[in-house]
Symmetry: C2
Subunit: 123 residues, 2 copies
Amino acid sequence: MWARWFRCLGDASRVLILNRLALARRPMSVGEIVDAVDVGQPTVSHHLKILAEVGFVLVERRANVRLYRVNDHCLEMFPSAAELVMGQLQRYAPVPTECRAPWQQAAPTGGDGSVITQGEAIG
Amino acid sequence: MWARWFRCLGDASRVLILNRLALARRPMSVGEIVDAVDVGQPTVSHHLKILAEVGFVLVERRANVRLYRVNDHCLEMFPSAAELVMGQLQRYAPVPTECRAPWQQAAPTGGDGSVITQGEAIG
DNA sequence: CATCAATATTGATGAATGTCGATAGGGCTT
DNA sequence: AAGCCCTATCGACATTCATCAATATTGATG
């Protein structure tokens, strides 16, 4: 789960897309993104799907066009994610609701709250 | 470069190793880590190598044993990394020296300091 | 209804990667 | 020196994944 979250940023094209999206500070259509990242349109769609599944971007369907934008609240998750992985933070610390993935909403499983189980680490 | 940094955390075994290492709060030998993560010793060595190359862990050779420990300063990099990717931070903001990867020491390449070029994103 | 534009999906392909067994290298101990 | 531990490296294998070309889908417009 954590690994999946990080692996989502482990691809150059996705980092690029995210950066372009953040710099634009406005929703962008797929076509605009395609023009900005030097890979084909199917590939961009593929990456956007992955980014959306993990929650890094949000989609809005408007007519023929699909507008993607960065989920700003995800920025706030990075310190928590880091400290959680590093075992220096209570688990399930409050984070913005929009940013909570399914596996973050589960109840604590016991322990001191910082041990990551094998199942939790796997994407 | 950024993608490589994140991809390093994009594997469940590596997240697990990092977590175990952080929880121990002391250097661990490879053997101890192997006992803690349910994959073979060669695989653990492989992952430790990757973690060390990116700078997440530090190594110390003591006699027969190799002691690995978390590079604590890397914790402080996460917020910067996130904001850089998201384009909301000046590039090359001061970070602890130990945590600087080669690509962080380069001089700014121009622009407003938040545009990630294709070359920079690639691992 | 036919057509066009924008986006998603499918299928295929080549590259990267995680894993293991086997082996090699280095440093103790007897 | 011989043997034993600990760790790294090598070779192989299966899997995942990024990418593209081609096609399907969806919505607007004539």
